[in-house]
């Protein structure tokens, strides 16, 4: 396989122009940590952006960071951490779940996947934090969209389309992101022993309060089979429901007390603070109970997004019918499901049930043959599917980038 190692943004434009001329589809790769997500691609050349890894500018007082797309997440995180800042959308690190090497992935890959963590319910996803982008389209042209300020409605918001497009629309060369100050303090309230439906109600009550909950997750007892570390400790007495509060010390204490009182009908809440709390939310963010190296490592894993209040009932039934395990985040709006292997990884069952609640499911972990056999991304209605195709063509008419990744041939 041809691997084109890019040195600078100009190389990208040339490489894409050559690929267009040669009608050669390209697989666009940073560290390649998420290559196993999506339909197996019909590409035979790799565009490797990992050397495009500079920091263009970082203005902590402006809360703005501009970096090249191949910049490693680990480096960027330690850079902004040095100014006590972070990405508010809490991007997921997929390495545990997908069993990829120690590489942390790149910012480009993070934006392209758009996998936001627990704080999405409060702060939005990758799409809400990507302010500007420079990229090369499938026309072989370098273009930019958005800007380097937080408030901007000048022209179409192409950043929204590019975030979460899994590299199928354009090759990002540089991204501008919003960063936020880290919270001074965090406390997680822990409710014990709730069933999935009751837990969803508790999370809805918490998220519908004025206490500014920044994480709402539920782990049924069975999810602890593969839990380690802090998470395993939390689950020693069965199911737990976790509610995170972040902010300045006095405020967090006040909100923790108030929320504990408001949720008293769901039981007595324990607390877990600072480092322990942080570790628990990292584990939930990265879905470590379903880690590739854990007891469920061989099972396919689905990422299901649905209206939060429907989450508990849906997940409970899914686990019961398939014998699988589920973990709830986003107050029930995000369900991670590890399901026992079957011919279609229960795609048919899952999606027919999801239709009733307006949800959708993406297979995040699955073998190559499985990913050939089913729709990895949720199928759209005919009209929306056609519009998605036209959007793809408007960026990449020759289908050069990551051909076949998001739609099954």
């Amino acid at each position: 396989m041809d691997i084109l190692k890019i040195r600078d943004a100009k190389d990208v434009e040339q490489a894409v122009q050559a690929a267009i001329a040669a009608e050669q589809p390209l697989e666009v790769v940073g560290h390649g940590t998420k290559r196993a997500v999506g339909q197996p691609m019909a590409t035979n050349a790799v565009l490797d952006l990992s050397a495009l890894n500079g920091v263009t500018s970082y203005e902590p007082n402006e809360l703005i960071l501009t970096v090249e797309a191949g910049a490693p997440m680990a480096d960027i995180k330690s850079l902004i951490d040095s100014k006590n800042q972070e990405f508010d959308f809490e991007p997921m690190d997929t390495s545990a779940l997908l069993g990829t090497a120690s590489l942390s992935g790149t910012i480009g890959g993070t934006i392209a996947a758009g996998l936001a963590g627990p704080r999405r319910i409060k702060s939005g996803g990758a799409r809400d934090h990507l302010l500007g982008v420079a990229a090369v389209s499938g026309f072989g042209e370098s273009f930019k969209a958005g800007g380097k300020v937080v408030k901007n409605v000048t022209g179409y918001d192409l950043c929204k389309l590019i975030a979460g497009s899994w590299g199928t629309l354009a090759v990002m060369t540089e991204v501008t992101l919003k960063v936020m100050p880290k919270a001074e303090h965090e406390v997680t309230l822990v409710l014990h022993g709730l069933d999935d439906v009751t837990a969803t109600r508790a999370m809805s009550a918490a998220l519908g309060s004025s206490f500014d909950v920044s994480g709402a997750a539920h782990l049924p007892q069975s999810a602890f089979r593969g839990a380690t570390g802090v998470l395993a400790g939390l689950g020693s007495q069965g199911a737990v429901t976790l509610l995170r509060l972040e902010g300045i010390g006095a405020s967090v204490v006040h909100r923790a007390n108030s929320l504990t009182a408001a949720l008293v009908s769901f039981g007595k809440a324990d607390r877990c603070e600072d480092e322990a709390s942080q570790a628990a939310w990292v584990a939930i963010r990265d879905v470590t109970p379903f880690a590739a190296s854990g007891p469920l490592g061989a099972w396919p894993v689905w990422r299901i997004v649905c209206p939060p209040a429907s989450g508990g009932a849906f997940g409970r039934e899914l686990a019961r019918e398939t014998g699988g395990d589920v973990i709830y985040d986003w107050g029930g709006g995000l369900i991670w499901a590890a399901l026992p292997p079957s011919a279609d990884a229960h795609a048919g069952l899952l999606r027919s049930k999801l239709a009733a609640i307006d949800g959708h499911a993406t297979l995040i972990r699955g073998s190559d043959p499985l990913r050939r056999a089913i729709d990895v991304f949720h199928p759209h209605s005919e009209g929306v599917a056609a519009l998605n195709r036209r959007v793809k063509s408007s960026f990449d008419p020759r289908d050069i980038f990551n051909r076949g990744r998001m739609t099954r041939a």
Binding site: D2, I6, A15, Q17, A18, I20, A21, E59, P60, N61, E62, L63, N84, R120, G124, R127, F139, E141, K144, A145, G147, V149, V150, K151, N152, V153, T154, G155, Y156, D157, C159, K160, L161, A163, G164, P181, E184, S204, G208, F211, G247, I248, A250, S251, R255, V305, P307, A309, W330, G333, T362, F377, H378, G383, V384, L387, N388, R390, V391, S394
Partner: protein, 497 residues
């Protein structure tokens, strides 16, 4: 009118009576307006300097009617300009002489309120404020709050990606909408997103929001609602120099504090507002910063103390902290009335809307002052300082020959300066017709072509709201052409493995 709009199609104008009759078939009764007198209210939007009577006004009240109107226009090559309440400040709803003006004002129903999922499903003609009012008895609200919120509609908010004073902390429209029903120009009805926190596939909701009515017509919107903070208090801080107020804003943000809102007014704006609403503003200061903190009382108290310290370090000469809800609203009353207040001291004014990096505030203000002298026109400044969004109000008298042109040139220079400082042409009002011809200041031909290709994916004939946003109209066939650069390897020196 100093801006060129697409040349009206005489063949369409010649068919006006048959078009009106066909539209009456689709929308019976009073839903089709074709008399000059009755169409007059639709001649302009909030950018009143630009006026144009439409060919005909259609006011449908069902999704099916919208779909049929659009399909009819599509099949007959007729242009369509969608309109909500007509409060756009950039001319987004300016009619076309040969176009159908599609008013969505009859879509006034809130369809679903769901506190468990924290969502509201509403028709597009519902006002921004009405959404908050519908849920306030349960302590909820819809966060984006453009200053026209009493009148502007959620459909228009989607079109413009509207902001407001609280978007520093709570985001703009795009960060607060989950889904919609949208009708394409060919009449096709699509559902995008749902009450789920994320949609599947490409983020179509993200591209529809802020597309200024060029991609489709929204007939239903799903928004997320939030519980109101326990309390909110405001500081009103006066500074002897505008630069010091800008520095204070930068330091507050730099200290990791994200206030609910942070607004600056300069001396002319302070005086105009005070004369209008008597909010008790200090008149001797050069700049007034209103900073609102919201959250639990203990948090607000703590943050007020921190902001107070920063303000004093920055040389604040007056400082008041609201001690009641009444007082907080009084602090805001002058800021919220700043535009009409300025309207009282000048026969006409032009409201600009550029955004700059926060740290460039002092330079931007100096530049605006220099330009004010150069053009010989007064200017009053109000800013959403927390996010660097400037609203210079250029004072002029349209009855004095040449003054409007001068004001527009002044405004264009301000926006060019915003781009020069690393900012953008518009923070929340949209491009519309007003900033259309300035787009090349910020975007190359290639950048603009890529945006227009998205337009082509939704509306290949360019019938929806043409003449807005893009300075040059290209045919979709031309934009869709791929230029193949030779057949040879164009980068022989690129490392290969």
């Amino acid at each position: 009118m100093s801006i060129m709009m697409p040349v009206p199609d005489q063949a369409i104008l010649d068919r006006r009576s048959s078009i009106v009759a066909a539209l009456r078939e689709i929308v019976p009764g009073e839903g089709v307006i074709d008399s000059a007198a009755e169409m007059q209210p639709y001649e302009s939007d909030g950018l009143t300097a630009y006026r144009q009577p439409p060919m005909v006004v259609v006011l449908p009240d069902t999704t099916e009617q919208v779909s049929r109107v659009l399909r009819y226009c599509h099949d007959n090559g007729i242009k369509v300009v969608p309109r909500g309440a007509g409060t756009s400040l950039s001319g987004g709803a300016l009619p076309l002489a040969d176009g159908v003006l599609l008013g969505m004002g009859k879509f006034k129903r809130i369809r679903d309120i769901d506190y468990e999922n924290r969502t509201v499903i509403t028709e597009p003609g519902v006002t921004n404020l009405a959404i908050s009012q519908a849920v306030e008895h349960e302590g909820f609200y819809y966060a984006p709050d453009p200053s026209s919120q009493i009148a502007c509609t959620i459909g228009g908010n989607i079109g413009e990606n509207s902001g407001g004073v609280h978007c520093l902390k709570y985001g703009m429209t795009t960060n607060n909408v989950l889904g919609c029903e949208i009708i394409l120009i060919n009449g096709e009805v699509l559902r995008i997103g749902s009450k789920a926190p994320e949609q599947a596939g490409y983020d179509l909701m993200g591209i529809i929001t802020g597309s200024e009515g060029l991609l489709g017509v929204v007939t239903e919107v799903t928004v997320r609602i939030l519980k109101k903070p326990e309390t909110a208090r405001a500081l009103m801080i006066g500074f002897p120099q505008v630069e010091a107020s800008g520095e204070c804003v930068a330091r507050v943000i730099g200290a990791g504090i994200i206030p609910g809102a942070m607004e600056i007014m300069d001396k002319p704006a302070i005086h105009a507002a005070e004369a209008f609403v008597h909010a008790g503003y200090p008149l001797e200061v050069e700049a007034l910063l209103i900073c609102e903190l919201d959250g639990p009382e203990v948090e607000v108290d703590e943050l007020i103390a921190r902001v107070e310290k920063i303000a004093k370090d920055c040389g604040a000469t007056t400082l008041q902290i609201s001690n009641s809800e009444k007082e907080r609203l009084l602090f805001w009353s002058g800021r919220k009335a700043a535009f009409p207040a300025v309207g009282r001291i000048s026969p006409d004014y032009l409201c600009m809307d550029g955004t700059i990096p926060r740290g460039k505030l002092p330079q931007a203000l100096t530049r605006i002052r220099e330009l004010s002298q150069k053009y010989g026109l007064g200017v009053a400044n109000v800013f959403h300082a927390g996010d660097g969004n400037l609203h210079p109000l250029i004072l002029y008298d349209a009855n004095k020959p040449g003054e409007m042109d001068k004001a527009e040139a002044f405004g264009a220079d301000i926006l060019r300066a915003c781009v020069e400082f690393g900012g953008v042409l518009t923070g929340e009002h949209g491009v519309g017709v007003e900033k259309r011809d300035l787009m090349p200041e910020m975007f190359s031909d290639i950048d603009l072509a890529q945006q227009q290709r998205i337009k082509c994916a939704f509306d290949p004939q360019g019938l929806l709201n043409p003449g807005k946003v893009f300075p040059t109209l290209h045919r979709c066939a031309e934009l869709g052409r791929v230029h193949v650069h030779g057949g040879k390897l164009a980068f022989p020196d690129l490392p290969r493995f």
